[in-house]
């Protein structure tokens, strides 16, 4: 097999894996948009906040210690414990539920029946507030996130492909874990929405707010629920991306990677987020591989959006999104 073809296959596989990482972020956007029609600008920051909280809890860091020390002249930094990863993840999930409740009580409750643009603006404010809160709570230094996820080349895939093609493919073991986690997440969300009372309530609200209210579904509870789930998805995304690069404030920018995925897959479809991620991931990597050397490289950031725009031209609602027609 020609070398270029082998390399293209390796690039494609890595693109698919990268796409799954983008999908993990996009899922959070989809959940909230589907249930409430809000484009949650703060989703990337939620991932950052969740990852910061996870590392802080795991390492026993005292939240707001810089502020406490500055005010009281103390030297407090750590509780002196190190929590097991699973316990820290569970506690962080609880924090995200609490955050969802606070967001509903302090922000969304007051904006019921407002225009979508107002809600969108509220999430912009929320994003900057949470970024600042994360900084004050946990500090802005880079933190190593270690929840026991494997990293580095998969020897198995390297060996299999070497035996088959004479060239071992590189696949990061972290990406394989991310793919498995994403599959489990999508399966769980599907089962939850299809077979549980609250899942059905969530779908009812997504279909028609007014009708859902008329049969006694609490819109406010559903909002807390969906923001909690989005918070959990953000935690998963934060763990995957944080394991890759350490937990630092640029983590919030992973949202930029999710936008073309949403444009392509549709804002209301969970499978769309996955398929969109796979197409964007593979598309941008292959374009960089073939066209990058000819046009100077660093094409991935903009090409993802070009690809999404191309799809938009032919299918404005995205591949799996619901078609919205407003009669005037």
């Amino acid at each position: 097999m020609p070398d270029q073809l082998l390399y293209a296959m390796e690039v494609s596989l890595n693109g698919l894996m990268a796409g799954i990482m983008y999908s993990l972020v996009a899922l959070g956007f989809v959940l909230i948009f589907k249930a409430s029609g809000i484009f949650n600008y703060a989703q990337g920051v939620l991932a950052l906040f969740a990852a910061l909280t996870l590392v802080g809890l795991q390492q026993g860091q005292i939240p707001f210690s810089h502020v406490i020390n500055a005010i009281f002249g103390t030297e407090l930094h750590s509780f002196g414990w190190t929590l097991p990863a699973l316990v820290a993840i569970a506690l962080t999930a609880l924090v995200m539920v609490g955050l969802a409740w606070l967001i509903e009580r302090l922000v969304l409750k007051h904006l019921v029946n407002q225009e979508p643009i107002i809600l969108f603006m509220a999430t912009i404010g929320l994003a900057y507030f949470l970024e600042g809160l994360g900084d004050v709570m946990w500090g802005a230094d880079i933190k190593k996130l270690d929840v026991g996820l494997p990293q580095g080349i998969s020897e198995t895939i390297d060996a299999i492909t070497f035996n088959a093609f004479g060239y071992g493919f590189f696949i990061d073991r972290l990406d394989i874990v991310a793919a498995v986690v994403a599959a489990l997440l999508v399966a769980s969300l599907t089962l939850f929405s299809q077979y549980t009372k609250y899942g059905r309530a969530l779908r009812a609200v997504a279909d028609d707010h007014q009708a859902a209210l008329s049969v006694g579904i609490s819109l406010r509870f559903i909002w807390v629920l969906v923001w909690s789930i989005a918070g959990f998805v953000a935690l998963v995304a934060g763990i995957m991306w944080g394991s890759k690069s350490g937990v630092q404030f640029s983590l919030s920018l992973i949202a930029l990677k999710a936008l073309p995925v949403l444009m392509l897959g549709g804002f209301t479809s969970i499978p769309g987020a996955i398929v969109g991620g796979l197409i964007i991931g593979m598309g941008e990597k292959l374009f960089e591989f073939f066209a990058g050397p000819l046009i100077g490289g660093a094409t991935e950031n903009w090409f993802a959006y070009v690809l999404a725009l191309l799809f938009l031209v032919f299918r404005p609602q995205g591949l799996f999104g619901e078609r919205i027609i407003e009669r005037v």
Binding site: Y7, E10, V11, N14, G15, M17, A18, M21, H66, N69, G73, E131, G132, D135, A140, D141, I142, K144, L145, D146, Q151, G152, I153, F170, D172, W241, K244, S245, G246, Q248, F249, S250, L251, S252, L253, I254, K257, K285, E288, F289, G292, G296, G297, A298, E300, N301
Partner: protein
């Protein structure tokens, strides 16, 4: 009621725009404590602030004049950096050090018009080393072209004096900063016969799979790296993932902090980076910082970053600026110097081993003497290597001189082009 409100408003405005006392020496700190590059911006800003606090607390300032360091947040954003410059220059700013090549490029024409020195140690526009053209800009002790040349000289030493037939990849932040060394490396590739491949990474650089797959395919002998922020830690992790030999991976001085290697754990062991200042906290100046600044509760941060790579570099910038102010006071014969006089101080500055020892920084930096035509200094840099087990950097070389035969014509050519574009007549003739 209306009167009370007016008074309150006036008080609030006065409080938010309070200028330093007229007698103070004003050195604005254009810092970034927020945004994706905060992890580097915070220790740099803290080191910068803390050194001036030390001078104020221990020595009563410089020449008896206290130093004010008003801080302005740029978030490493060029537009915000320019806004910070505009909003602080009226306070009597004596010099700017924005820690951003993008901001530097925008400020060069502004400081030239406003006659305020711009000090960009180890970053910014390389050809500003030519004082004949860039009257108001100083970038000693080293610049990016020096860095590129030092890296190649180090590799020459490692390869018995020849890089003929070797493959070197440059992985770089796709920005003005990351592109700075390309021209020099291209010239050095011609001179030494190695093949240079250029691999840009878009900011912020969280996703670098394509570039590292290419490194894996091309198998370069060495990878040179010009990154910043999250790009650094991701690159080190990706290099470890593909099992690229870490001792053949060399970063510029902005890609060699503890933040860049700690997330990769043991995988980062052996990674190398350039540095133009000493590493670690074993310099007497840190004892003074502890005594007069941290223990007195006057530190800019918690004090736990003292001795780290980026903190030390921020402190070193403050050391050089304070020495330039001191020199300016000496030349002007008064402690109350203005920006133009501080420029004269920068141009006449000489840093010797003896002076570094007096400052509690023996061996920390390379001695240099600036002049009318030379705003770039000697340009030497050392190589530091990461020990993952000990979690510390160690110097593995002394100062390596750059290849001035290659660099000087490039600096002259680039600065001449700038002079022609901006109708600048060469000075120092």
């Amino acid at each position: 009621m209306k009167k009370t409100f007016t008074m309150l408003a006036a008080a609030a405005i006065a409080a938010t725009t309070a200028a330093p006392a007229l007698a103070d020496l004003v050195v604005p700190n254009l810092s970034y404590r927020t945004g994706p590059f905060a992890a580097g911006g915070i220790p740099y800003a803290d080191g910068f602030n803390d050194y001036f606090t030390l001078l104020n607390e221990r020595d009563g300032g410089i020449g008896g004049e206290k130093v004010q360091v008003p801080e302005c947040e740029t978030a490493y954003n060029t537009e915000k950096g320019v806004e910070c410059y505009e909003s602080t220059k009226g306070q009597g700013a004596l010099v700017y050090n924005p820690l951003s090549t993008g901001i530097t490029y925008q400020l060069i024409p502004k400081v030239t018009a406003d006659k305020i020195p711009l000090y960009t140690p180890g970053y910014g526009r390389t050809s500003a080393a030519n004082g004949k053209v860039f009257e108001w800009v100083f970038n000693y002790p080293a610049n990016y072209w020096d860095g590129a040349s030092v890296a190649i000289k180090y590799l020459l030493d490692e390869n018995g004096g020849s890089l003929e037939g070797k493959k070197i990849a440059l992985l770089y932040h796709n920005s003005a900063y990351g592109k700075e060394p390309i021209r020099t490396l291209q010239e050095l590739a011609k001179k030494h016969g190695f093949t240079l491949s250029e691999l840009p990474i878009d900011s912020p650089g969280q996703e670098q799979k394509s570039q590292w797959l290419q490194v894996r395919r091309d198998k370069p002998d060495y990878v040179l790296f010009w990154g910043w922020g999250v790009m650094n830690s991701v690159a080190v992790q990706e290099a470890a993932n593909i099992r690229f030999p870490m001792d053949k991976f060399i970063g510029i001085w902005w890609s060699g902090s503890e933040n860049d290697v700690l997330p990769a754990g043991d995988g980062a062991n052996g990674y190398k980076a350039l540095t133009f200042n000493g590493v670690g906290g074993d310099y007497p100046v840190y004892a003074d910082l502890k005594k007069y600044v941290f223990d007195a509760g006057k530190g800019s941060g918690a004090g736990d970053a003292a001795g780290s790579v980026i903190y030390s570099r921020g402190m070193y910038a403050a050391v050089i600026i304070s020495e330039a102010i001191r020199k300016a006071q000496e030349i002007a014969g008064t402690p109350k110097v203005n920006a133009a006089q501080v420029r004269d101080g920068f141009e006449a500055l000489e840093i010797t081993d003896a002076r570094l020892e007096e400052l509690g920084l023996k061996g920390f930096g390379q001695p240099f003497a600036a002049s009318c035509g030379d705003h770039g200094g000697a340009g030497g840099a050392m190589i530091q290597q990461w020990d993952a087990a000990a979690k510390k950097w160690s110097l593995i070389t002394g100062f390596i001189e750059p290849d001035h035969d290659v660099l000087d014509p490039l600096v002259a050519e680039d600065s001449a082009a700038f002079a022609a574009e901006n109708n600048i007549a060469e000075r120092c003739n």
